[in-house]
């Protein structure tokens, strides 16, 4: 809780004019020495209250940090001053006099005239994939314009921390997407694709991008742990683009990559498996001018890739993508039992019961012995009934409402 009294008594005056217009108390210090500079894009989470304790705004209510360019007059003066003093990761309390906020005009309707504002604010850092999974804070900018792509070979220095204790420190060279082979979590692979040569940054990984539910006993990491990594991308060599390889090479690589994908899948590393199978698709899906033999091999790889991708997406709960992959698999082999079954599963989980049922029925046409399909069909029917009941209850009798309104 923000103590107005504490701020007035002990708060540090951070105004250039030293007129106590903006007072600050640090709640949690940041993790580095650098403050943001003018023009930097800053990400701030905050909660704002009036002097009477009433909350007038919170970025948490919008589920996303507030983003603005520092020092450009886009925000109230107090913020341009205060955020410039906030080290990355810092959380602080602020007291802002009206002259540095909304002055005598106030800001209708929430902020009255001559209001002193109180904030709890944190300098959040860049959310790489906009899902809170990986937050990056750049300590030193890299150079150049390119980033490592999937499959690129990177040389990095890496230090891993969990709960404040360092559990890993090494210099390592590996292929992006295969960091797992070096006990490096998938979040690092993903982040590397957004880093530049020479960049030194800190990455905050949520469990999903870390070691997940399995944890990492080797390092003493528990399940569902959040991790912090300090990474320097020393150098990298991009992987060959699809157009740089000829068909023969692609088919050779496809075999290797398929095995790798299966290995990851068996270990439950679905994100890494997706990357591997995905390579097959990007190499072969649009490949032309194949001989008959090559065509057969290519289709076989693609079919396996699509089917396995569907499996992975089911595990990752990305059902729409699973359906897409099944569609593609069935495009190559329309009576493929696995394809139909997996698509049925995905559709069932998306509550598209009719379509799911169709798929399972087709499975039975192809293989009447498939018991799993049978039980899925009855599950579909059960769910359809439940849903219709529920809809009927919720949207019942709009008509009566209208009739009543007409009658008035």
């Amino acid at each position: 809780e923000v103590q107005a009294a504490a701020l007035t008594e002990r708060g540090e005056d951070i105004t250039p004019a030293r007129d106590r217009g903006v007072l600050k108390i640090i709640k949690r210090p940041g993790s580095e020495d650098e403050c943001p500079m003018i023009g930097d894009k800053v990400y701030v989470h905050y909660k704002g209250k009036l002097a009477n304790g009433k909350k007038f705004d919170s970025s948490r209510d919008r589920n996303e940090p507030f983003i603005f360019s520092l020092g450009k007059g886009q925000v109230i003066k107090a913020w341009d001053i205060a955020v410039a003093t906030m080290k990355k990761g810092e959380i602080c309390y602020l007291l802002c006099k009206p002259e540095y906020a909304y002055g005598s005009a106030g800001s209708a309707p929430k902020i009255p005239s001559n209001a002193t504002l109180f904030f709890e604010a944190s300098n959040a850092g860049e959310d790489l994939f906009e899902d809170g999974g990986i937050i990056r804070r750049i300590k030193r900018k890299g150079e150049g314009y390119s980033n490592p792509n999937e499959g690129a070979t990177v040389e990095i220095h890496l230090e891993g921390f969990c709960g404040g204790t360092r559990f890993d420190c090494k210099d390592v060279k590996f292929v992006v997407g295969e960091g797992e082979d070096h006990d490096i979590p998938i979040g690092i692979d993903k982040a590397l694709e957004k880093m530049q040569r020479g960049e030194h940054c800190i990455l905050y990984l949520s469990s999903r991008y870390g070691f997940g539910e399995a944890g990492k006993p080797k390092y003493g990491i528990q399940a569902n742990a959040e991790l912090v990594y300090e990474v320097t991308l020393k150098s990298f060599e991009k992987a060959k683009e699809s157009w740089e390889m000829d068909t023969k090479e692609k088919l050779e690589q496809a075999a290797i990559v398929k095995e790798k994908g299966t290995m990851y899948f068996k270990e439950g590393k679905y994100l890494q498996a997706v990357i591997q199978y995905g390579k097959i698709v990007s190499w072969l899906e649009m490949e032309y001018g194949l001989s008959e033999k090559e065509s057969k091999a290519s289709d076989s790889f693609l079919l396996a890739a699509f089917l396995n991708l569907a499996m992975c997406y089911l595990k990752l709960r990305e059902y729409a993508k699973a359906v897409e992959c099944c569609d593609k698999a069935l495009g190559l082999d329309q009576d493929n039992e696995k394809g139909l079954y997996r698509r049925g599963e995905a559709r069932l989980l998306m509550n598209e019961f009719e379509l799911a049922k169709c798929d399972f029925l087709k499975v039975l046409e192809v293989n009447p012995q498939n018991k799993a399909a049978k039980s899925q069909i009855s599950l579909c029917q059960k769910k359809t009934k439940e849903h219709n009941e529920r809809d009927r209850r919720i949207y019942a009798n709009m008509f009566t409402k209208f009739a009543e309104r007409d009658a008035k």
């Binding site: 905050y46 704002g48 007038f56 705004d57 970025s59 209510d61 919008r62 507030f66 007059g73 886009q74 925000v75 109230i76 003066k77 913020w79 909304y102 002055g103 005598s104 005009a105 106030g106 800001s107 209708a108 309707p109 929430k110 902020i111 899902d131 709960r317 990305e318 059902y319 729409a320 993508k321 998306m350 598209e352 009719e354 379509l355 809809d391 919720i394 949207y395 709009m398 008509f399 209208f402 009739a403 309104r405 007409d406 009658a407």
Partner: protein, 588 residues
């Protein structure tokens, strides 16, 4: 008998396989059903429809009954039992018929109505339409979008109730209908929200996009045209309610804040044809302007808006919206534009708007639009408000900003009254400069002199029409008089004494000459008229004036003389100030 015919076709179809239904069976069913309805046998028709054995028939052929059914419903009065029966038939059809075909049938029905029937028909068919849409699996999003677009299309030609009386009367049912349509859309909104919550990856983009399109359309019609202020005596203002619901939808599907920040020019267009792209941009510009109005003036949805932006930044973001609205001529849109502009300006402290903002094109265009409104708009309260807001705008700028703005408006307004107003503002600023402690370079010294060149001049020298420009000339003379009195020659803070010779040459002398000439001219005219009075009234009028279809009577000689005398009076006024100024200059 109609019922017998119906039974006949039913019995025939009962034994057929679904695939064997022929075109003529469909026809016979429709004709028989229609006849039943028209002859008052709705009860029997309902029985047939509810009969389990006829399920397949109804599923395939039922949708053909929509048209006659709707006709009948409107034929019967509210309390009529037969109406109730028809409504139940409609409900049954919604449950039993093939969703795809029924959907088309309903949409067709909506498309065919017009004028007074539109709202009634739409409200009647919303419930079955919703039932049917919820059943569709494939292409649901597309169908929902199509329905909403079709409904809004049908509503758009209808006039929007504006006055309190019109709203209460709601003659065509538009108010009621609009709110019914948002209710209709709710389950689809809920679906999008549910899907977004389930997985951050799964984005039913299509349905969300259709809902956004619907909201954008609603912002333009009816909201942009509607009167949205609180009205005394109306508890639930239907359009305020509608606006709240639209904003709710946008907030729930997480498009509200992104849209508020979206600059129409920044939006990338999918159209290849530039003409279409321009049309789309223009349409969305007005919707976005309306959205800003709703949020910042009526405060709908403002709880969701970040409260840390600086007021100047808010103004900057809203300027393009203000410009879009001020370019229109309809009162509903003009007043919204003015209100939005005012609301942004009132959030600022005087003198806090940096002059650099005038580098933005819209910051220069908007005041010129205000000038057009205050001089050309036929509605008096809009003109007055426009003038007030211009003053407010001037007050918010820092001194250099004011200076630049004055120069701009003097050059572009082409209206003596406006120019006079600006010149008065200049005088006020000079006054502030002379009385305050700090040294203000913009309204003293060489900057002021440069401005005085613009102000203290006659556009056409001695031949300037003094009557036309009297407002401006009086203001100029008053400014000069003030400068000469307030600023001692020894101080010469303003610099007016330095440039006096030029002022005399470019302004005072030609003014003197012009006055003499004009006065002589008008006095001659008066003399002529008085002498001609004795002769018969000549009937060759040079021109006639027609107002509102009625030709104004020609001015009598008496009236004409009055006008000429008042012109002379104006010249006297000008001359008196001119004489005073010349006197003061002589003395000093």
């Amino acid at each position: 008998m109609a019922v017998d015919e119906l039974q006949a076709i039913i019995q025939r179809c009962q034994i057929l396989e679904e695939a064997d239904f022929k075109g003529e069976d469909f026809n016979l069913f429709q004709v028989a059903g229609q006849k039943c309805l028209e002859d008052g046998y709705a009860a029997q028709l309902l029985e047939v429809i509810q009969n389990e054995k006829n399920k397949v028939i109804i599923k395939n052929m039922g949708w053909n009954l929509i048209s006659p059914l709707v006709r009948c419903i409107f034929m019967y009065k509210q309390d009529d039992d037969r109406r109730e029966l028809c409504l139940r038939i409609l409900d049954q059809l919604a449950q039993l018929c093939n969703p795809k075909e029924l959907f088309l049938g309903l949409l067709e029905q909506i498309e065919q109505t017009s004028g007074e029937q539109v709202c009634q028909t739409v409200m009647l068919l919303l419930q079955p339409l919703q039932t049917v849409l919820l059943k569709l699996q494939n292409k649901k999003a597309y169908s929902v979008g199509l329905s909403l677009a079709m409904i809004m299309n049908q509503l758009t030609p209808l006039p929007v109730p504006y006055t309190k009386q019109q709203i209460q009367e709601d003659k065509l049912g538009l108010c009621q209908c609009c709110n019914a349509v948002v209710d209709f859309a709710k389950p689809f909104v809920n679906e999008v929200v549910k899907n977004m919550e389930k997985s951050s990856e799964y984005n039913d983009m299509e349905l969300k996009e259709e809902l956004v399109k619907f909201c954008m359309k609603s912002l333009k019609y009816p909201l942009l045209t509607a009167q949205l202020e609180q009205l005394e005596g109306i508890e639930d203002h239907p359009f305020r309610q509608f606006a709240t619901e639209i904003i709710d939808i946008l907030w729930n599907i997480r498009e509200l804040i992104p849209l508020v920040f979206l600059h129409p020019k920044a939006k990338s267009s999918d159209w290849e044809d530039q003409e279409f792209a321009d049309i789309e941009q223009k349409n969305s510009a007005e919707s976005l302007a309306c959205l800003s109005y709703l949020m910042f003036v009526q405060h709908f949805g403002i709880e969701c808006f970040p409260m840390v932006f600086s007021p100047s930044y808010l103004l900057q973001c809203n300027m393009s919206h203000v410009e879009v609205l001020l370019k229109r001529t309809e009162e509903s849109m003009l007043s919204k534009g003015l209100d939005l502009f005012e609301s942004c300006l009132l959030r600022m402290e005087d003198g806090s708007l940096l002059h650099q903002y005038l580098e933005f094109k819209d910051f220069v265009n908007v005041p010129q639009d205000l000038v057009k409104i205050m001089t050309l708009c036929p509605i008096e309260h809009v003109r007055k408000k426009s003038l007030n807001i211009l003053q407010l705008f001037i007050d918010k700028f820092d001194t250099e900003g004011k200076y630049t703005l004055f120069r701009c408006l003097l050059k572009t307004s082409n209206h003596a009254g406006v120019e006079g107003y600006i010149i008065k503002n200049i005088k006020d600023q000079v006054h502030v400069s002379l009385t305050k402690e700090y040294d203000n370079i913009w309204f003293t010294g060489h900057h002021l002199i440069s401005l005085l060149d613009l102000v203290l001049s006659l556009p056409e020298g001695a031949e300037t029409d003094l009557l036309q420009n009297s407002d401006r000339i009086m203001a100029s003379l008053n400014l000069l008089r003030y400068l000469v009195i307030k600023d001692c020659e020894s101080d010469n803070q303003t610099g007016v004494w330095t440039t006096l010779a030029k002022i005399e040459q470019n302004f005072l002398k030609p003014l003197r000459v012009g006055l003499n000439m004009s006065r002589a001219h008008y006095e001659a005219e008066i003399k002529n008229k008085k002498e001609n009075r004795k002769e018969a009234q000549s009937s060759n009028t040079v021109c006639s004036v027609t107002v509102g279809g009625e030709k104004l009577p020609a001015m009598t000689t008496g009236m004409q003389l009055q006008v000429l005398h008042s012109a002379l009076f104006t010249f006297d006024l000008i001359e008196s100030v001119l004489a005073r100024v010349e006197e003061l200059i002589e003395v000093k």
